[in-house]
Amino acid sequence: MPVEVHDDHAGAVQLTIFGSALLAAALLAALYAAGAGVYGGRTGDRRWVESARRAVYAMAALLTSAVVIIEIAFLRDDFGFALVADHSSTTTPTFYKLTAMWSSQEGSLLLWAWVLSLASSGVLFITRNRHREIVPWATAVLAGIGAFFVGLMIFKAQPFGHLDPAPAEGAGLTPLLRNPYMAVHPPMLYSGYVFWSIPFAFCVGALIARRLDASWIRTTRNFALCAWTFLGIGLLLGSRWSYEELGWGGYWGWDPVENAALMPWLVGTAFLHSVMVQEKRGMLKVWNVSLICGTFSLCLLGTFLVRSGVLQSIHAFGASTVGGPLLALIAVVAIGSTVLIVSRLDQLRPERRIESLLSRESIFLVNNLLLVGLAAVIFWGTFFPLISEFFTGEKHSLAAPWFNRYVTPIGVLLVLFTGIGPLLAWGRLSPSAARRLLLGPGLVALATIVVLLAVSDAGHHPWALFVFAFAAFTLAALAGEFWRAAATRRSLTGESAPRALVEAVGRNRRRYGGYIVHAGIALTLIGIAASSSFQTNRDLRLQVGQTATVGDYTIRYDKLTSDPNPERLSFVSHLSVSRDGKSIGTLAPARNYYPSDDPTAGPIGRYFMGESTSEVGLRSRAGGDLWTAFQPDLSVLNPDIKRGNDQLANLPAAAQEFAILALVQHYVQNPPPATFRVIVNPLVGWIWIGALIALAGAVMAGWPALESRQRLEAAYRARLGRELGTATESS
């Protein structure tokens, strides 16, 4: 046995040293790529550009190997790796072993750098024969960012730390993170952040090389759309996790780490719209370069906020050493891009001017202003403690009510414009056409207001009423657009209505995919408005057998059961729910208690003193959710726990477990009143449904058209034909 341990230990040391060497090599490759890219950009020598590209590929390969080594270490429970010892254990399920890597500072930086290297390799491969002036500089920027993150790992947060001697068991994963949403959330979020670096790098390259037509936008459009989608998925997962797993019942708290992901998503949304204006009308060039630099800076800021400890947040921050360097990078990126943009202003002049307010381009400009304004408000609120400290010496913080007050009006306006935009055309829309197009949806909106005022108390919640009206406007407008598309095509080709619709939409996936995104957003906002304004929220204290009424529902606390296993103690409450006298089912909100490693808690007490998580009892329907959480009162057990700690301390573990089971059984048979939180959340499910629809629309919009691949092929075939002196046949 000792020999085995020694071998494993030596193996771990060797592997961690090899892993550190891989990181060092990745850093060198990145630095070389940055330098070679700059040199290739300045001299135009394509060999250096090619060499830089290969260095990026090498960086990707090296980081992939590093990730593989770490994941294998997790799978093998190799606790010689400090990372594995601190974040995993032999009892951690396999799925969470694989995802534990990014629950740590070091591992999440590795994830960032790895995804960046893969995405950079991808875009450089795709553009290896194009955009000669821009690519060298874009390579340098991407490699530079990669070098920064790898350097950060090597010098500040080494993932390949080793433990000597290796412990026999690891610390395990925090129970709150043992959840599929939380496991997938970081890679989605980081992919979102990383993919924004691609258009950013090409923008910087375009600025440096003074090639400021729309080619950098076209090349990186799909990366921008991917970034937006992944960031959106990250936001969706985070809010769904909060709703489903935390005993709070909310999905958004305006916490700094939430805002950190929302701000780049908002500015990125503005970017995605604004670049369309440049492509079609040659306008808003300064907006576009500023928006992408702003989006990427906000991505870095988001990465910084979650690690730095400068703001009070629900995520506790330890003393982290990576905050300073990240802030320096943000400053370099923000100031550097500003200087670059200002120096190229003469080349960013618009080709045309906005002629009319009744055009899509002017709506997109308003859209830019609203989204950036919204991000600015959120930025102000998030950083207010630091701003106030700077000016007054005192830290003042702003909470959710402030955010809601200022975000709501802007959000409401955005819902309206989400519907107006698709109705307008590029170029000037005639006033009579505008009247005609706006009339239908406008009437729908008015009808919605009238109906809601008549059948509900929506009149007491004006903002929600506006959201419903504007969302109805938007959905009607979008439906009209789809109908018009099918009708126009039908009049041209005589196809059946469904086929005409499919053909028309298929031929312009970008536009109609975008409309589907808008529809999804409108639904999400309906869900948000309904569940925030019309929520019924009650804290109840119930004895077994007691009944209470919340909104339309009657809830009866039937019984308490327990479900203990070596991993955790579980107390499960059983509620029967009825409405209008009819039973509609049962809910079983529960509370899990994970044992603590703290020796001072005592052998019995440690089972009650460790982490606890909630299992929410949720009943989801299209009309709304019934959300329940349960908090047992364990204080009555304290005397028994203390007695157990004293008397059973020297008994074997099996006896202690028996005692705990007996204690739990006794409690369950005669429990004291427990606290329940019950929330009736109308229409909240539409938030998730709307978000999924929006993401599906984004995927559809970004789905690559066959044309682009065929185009390059056709170009080569044409050249071949010319050189052979014969006409080619298209294959």
């Binding site: 500072q105 506790a316 003393a319 106030s388 830290k395 003042h396 009510p401 982490e611 606890s612 998580t613």
Partner: protein, 135 residues
């Protein structure tokens, strides 16, 4: 009016609106905010008024009295404990030694927390600890 003059007017209007809105935002945020203080700061300063108390839950100080939760909050280093009385939703991670934020007023030496204002921080994910120490 020629187009460029129209554009300039629009720009001026837009900028003025932005400045006014920003000024309004700035002005109201100071009055809407609550000041954050640690227990040591709270004991030293003017005790009236609503504050956001930030600190660590003193181990062993948690007591449930029916609907009410009583505990003590100290500075991060454990000094200057202040008794807190709170009723409302208690977040999952709340226990001894955790960092908390609770909004309320100091009354007769006890910090009375506003309903549902208790925030407990999730245990630290991103500390760069020396290898072998658990966070």
């Amino acid at each position: 009016m020629d187009p460029s003059r129209k554009r300039k007017i629009r720009l001026v209007i837009a900028l003025s609106a932005a400045v006014l809105l920003a000024a309004g935002l700035v002005y109201t945020s100071f009055s809407a905010s609550t000041e954050a203080k640690e227990p040591s700061q709270l004991l030293q300063s003017d005790p009236s008024g609503t504050y956001e108390l930030t600190g660590k839950v003193v181990p062993g100080s948690i007591q449930h009295a029916g609907d009410e939760l009583n505990f003590k909050v100290s500075d991060r280093d454990g000094t200057d404990p202040i008794p807190v009385s709170y009723s409302g939703e208690v977040p999952d991670p709340f226990r001894d030694g955790r960092e908390v934020i609770v909004t309320g007023k100091l009354q007769d030496g006890t910090f009375v927390g506003e309903r549902d204002s208790l925030v407990t921080k999730c245990p630290s994910k991103f500390t760069t600890t020396t290898p072998g120490q658990s966070s």
